[in-house]
Structure formats: C-alpha cells, structure tokens
Symmetry: C2
C-alpha cells in the first residue's frame, strides 16, 4: 500500500506516542518531532507507510537510547493472553470447525494493540466469537490452499497476538514457520516475544530481517525472500504486514482487523471490520 | 496557552484538512505538509498554538491561491443559523432569565465548527438547553461585571456561531464592540461574516488585526489593544481566543465548549465540557 496524505499527520502522532513511551524528556520528544517533520519532504508517496515507520522507530531508539520501549507492555500482553490459553485451546478443541475457531481467535488477537486492551474487553470479544462477521472472508480458498500445501509461512504481527497465532499454528496441521521482526519496533513480536508466547513449541521461528513495523521486502533477508517466494501458503497477520505486502505478486492470506481508516479504504472495508483476504481473489493482486 | 507536544501532530492534521478544503491538488497539499513539517523545529513551545495556526493558514492561502477556502462553508453555516434566529430569539425572550438563556445559546453556538454540524444536531443541542451543565460557570461574576460596565468588548470566534453571539449582544444591554479576525482563517468570523450574521445591527464591528485563528495580542492593532486594555468587560468566545488570551493580565470571560483535549486539560475540564470562566477567579490569572 502506498503512503496516503492522511498518513503524514499520523506519522507525527506515532512519533509522539513512541517518544512518550520511551522517555519523559520533553526535549528529546520535541527533537524526535522536529526530525520526523523535517524528513516529510523526503518521503516518496510511493513508499509503503511502514518504511517511514522504520525511520521513526529507529530514530526513537537512537535519540532516547531505549532499545525496546514497548518491552514491558509486550511482556504484560503476552502474560495476559498466556493465562487465557488453556481456556482458548478448549474453545478450539470443542468447536465443530476447529480451523474456523482458530482463525476467529487469531483475528480477535489482532484487536490487541499497544497492549492497552484490557483482559475484560478481550474476554468480551472472545465471548462474541460465534457471531463474528467478516467483511471479507475467503475461508474456502484458505482451506483449499491449506489442503494442498505441505508447509505454511505465517507472518506474525504484535506481541500478545502471537499467543493467539500459536493456537492457529497448532490447527494448521502442517509444519509452520513463524516470522518475526528483526528488531523491536512498536509492540511487534520479535524472536524473544515469539518464544515467550510458546511459538517455538509449534513452529520454527525466523526473522524476516525487516526492521520496519511491517514486512518490507526490500528490507528482508535473502533467506526470508526465498521462503516467501517458495512457500506453498503465506498467512500475513495485521495492518503493517498488509501495508508492506498488499502489492506483492504472490498469493497471501491477509488476516486482520482494519483499525486504520486509510488501510480500511485501501482494502475496501470499514474501520473495525474483520478481514480474511486471499490476495489472489482481490483486485490487489497484479 | 503554550504549545504542548500534542499540538504538533495536530498542526499537521490541520494543514491536511485546510489543504483539502482549499484544493484537490495532492501535490500542493503534500507541499503544504512538507513546509509545515520542516518548520516544526522552529516552533518555540512558549508560543501559543494559534501563532503556528497563523503560519499554516497563511501558507495554505499562498500555496493554493485560495484566499478564503471556508467561504461557502461559512456562508452556509450563517444561513442555517439565521433561519433559526426568530425561534431562538423567542426562546430568549420567553425565558425567566434572559441573559442566562442567551449565554447558553452562545455556548451552544460554539459547538458549531467547520460548518459540519447539521441543523438537526443543532436543534437537538438547543432542545436540551434547559439541562445544560457547565463544568465552570462564573455566571454571578459575569452578571456583576456586566452591571458595572458601560460597554462590552465581545471577541467572536466562528462564522455561524456569530449569529448566536448576536442574540447575546442584544441581551447585554450595553454598547457592544464585536471583534472579528483581520483575514479569513479557517471558519473564523471576519467583518463580512459578522455583517452577514447581522451583528452590525446590534454592535460595532472591529477587527482585532489578528490574522491567526485566535486573538494573538502581538498581532493585534494598536487600536484594538487600547480597547482590550480599557474595556470594562471582555467576553472571549471559543478555543482559539482562549489559547491566545489565557495568560493575559486582564480579566476575561471565556465562553466556550472544550473540544480539544489539550485545551480542556489546560482549563482543567473534560473534553466536550461547557465553560464560562472568569479568568480573574482562576489560577490562570497572573
């Protein structure tokens, strides 16, 4: 997805938020805003938004000296969801369609953002799971592809959400490679977060090499690019990965809640809609 | 009020919005965002936010060549409220406390912003007028001051809202000078808008000289500064004027709805709260 004009004030808002999480020093935060502001002229609108995100969160690390500002938030989020795991696993196991239940839970997991969702709200979302309506739901296509593949490349998004992803990985019935970010960026799952979520028990964890809050292919390792090209099935969680991969020329199953109005419009859904999108069935696929 | 860090992303959002109202040319809007972004480093946090607003809206006029992007929106807003005027005047006249009713209506008028409030919503607000609760309501002090003064300086805010101000001007029972902006800036009332609202029938209209979306004393004319200093009573409508005058060393009656979370926090109220604040009774007065 390209950068829209509306993304630009949002870059500044993200800078402010990330700065405030990393430090109390208002001068440093102002310095971050100054620096990002002065770089706006250089942002090509053809770039994807997470490419600018990469710049922003790297700058936050450099200026504040805090390597992983969301560390505690991520840990807390993972702990909360882990405490629910046995209950969630029972829900999946007792479902008539276990794969469907795991997909629904993995979508609800994407509601978790910045670790601010409270346990109560999360349980409320989960309680309404049976009635979940997707604005786009390419489930048949998802099942068909899964039946034909002998492995799955599963690109993760946030920490905490990663625990839900573990349940889906368990239900795929194929060897799963779970993809994390190379460095801490916002609350996105790194290798450490994936391990804390227990994903190493059900999948091989690899870093895409991306240091952006999304999968930006030009930032990825050769090893990842090969897996991405050759894998029989790719599942991509969340908005950041959608932004990076929506114009990629291979089939990707995007699983997300559209939280940003610009991304929602790009997909063709409304804000807060749930989406399971087979890119090969959409106009997005070249 | 000083500039807070949270104001900075908002400056960018205002630039985008004003650019989109003035032109469909995405390149010109991007140019506006580039320019405002690159100026952030130069914004002293001791400045009031409307001083940056002055820069933004001047830039929009220069880059787009559109002198008054909100012209039609303002005209429509004034027309809508004028169509309600006889009804509103009856409401005031039939009230037990006419001054109170006129103050309430003038506060509701401040809900009008960007002309996007629909007539329906407006009538709904007006319908609930009897039950209006103010978070700060220095009405006794307002009445006392009014009884002692022989004229009132009334600093206007938005076009449309200006029609409500006319009703309050009628109820003050003193010669009123109604203050407008020197140039079109957002949907703020200019001399032309005040005349369309009929304010010339009940008040003397003067420009403060301010080209900002607020009353910034250093941008005002000597003539206005003299009136501001010497007037027996000053009423100031809306957020922009509050931002400019909140630290001024004279008594001002601020009448507004707190729409911005930063301004609300500065005043010490919640977002959407109604306020009639006598600055001499608050901690804001030096």
């Amino acid at each position: 997805m390209k950068t829209y004009l509306d993304c630009i004030p949002c870059f500044m808002a993200q800078t402010l938020r990330a700065g405030q999480v990393a430090t109390d020093d208002e001068h440093k935060i102002k310095e971050l805003l100054d620096e990002v502001g002065s770089k706006i002229r250089e942002i090509p609108m053809t770039c994807t938004p997470p490419e600018t995100g990469e710049f922003i969160y790297r700058l936050v690390r450099e200026v504040t000296g805090v390597e992983d500002p969301y560390r505690e938030i991520k840990k807390k989020s993972i702990r909360e969801v882990l405490s629910l795991l046995p209950r969630l696993r029972d829900m999946v196991k007792s479902s008539e369609d276990r794969l469907l239940a795991a997909i629904r839970l993995a979508t609800i997991g994407n509601v978790l953002d910045f670790g601010i969702q409270r346990r109560y709200d999360l349980m409320e979302e989960i309680g309404k799971m049976e009635h979940m309506q997707y604005a786009i739901f390419h489930y048949d296509s998802f099942r068909e592809r899964l039946a034909q593949t002998d492995s799955v490349l599963f690109i993760g998004d946030n920490a905490g959400e990663s625990v839900f992803d573990r349940l889906l990985a368990e239900e795929l019935g194929r060897p799963v490679t779970y993809v994390v970010r190379e460095v801490p960026v916002i609350n996105d799952a790194t290798r450490e977060d994936a391990i804390e979520s227990g994903l190493h028990e059900v999948a091989t964890i690899v870093s895409s090499g991306s240091t952006a809050p999304g999968t930006i292919l030009r930032l990825c390792t050769g090893e990842f690019l090969e897996m991405y090209r050759d894998s029989g099935m790719v599942i991509s969680k969340g908005q950041g990965n959608y932004e990076g991969l929506s114009e990629s020329d291979r089939q990707v199953f995007f699983l997300l809640r559209a939280k940003c109005p610009i991304i929602a419009r790009d997909i063709g859904v409304n804000v807060n809609d749930f989406v399971l999108l087979d890119s090969s069935l959409s106009g997005h696929h070249p």
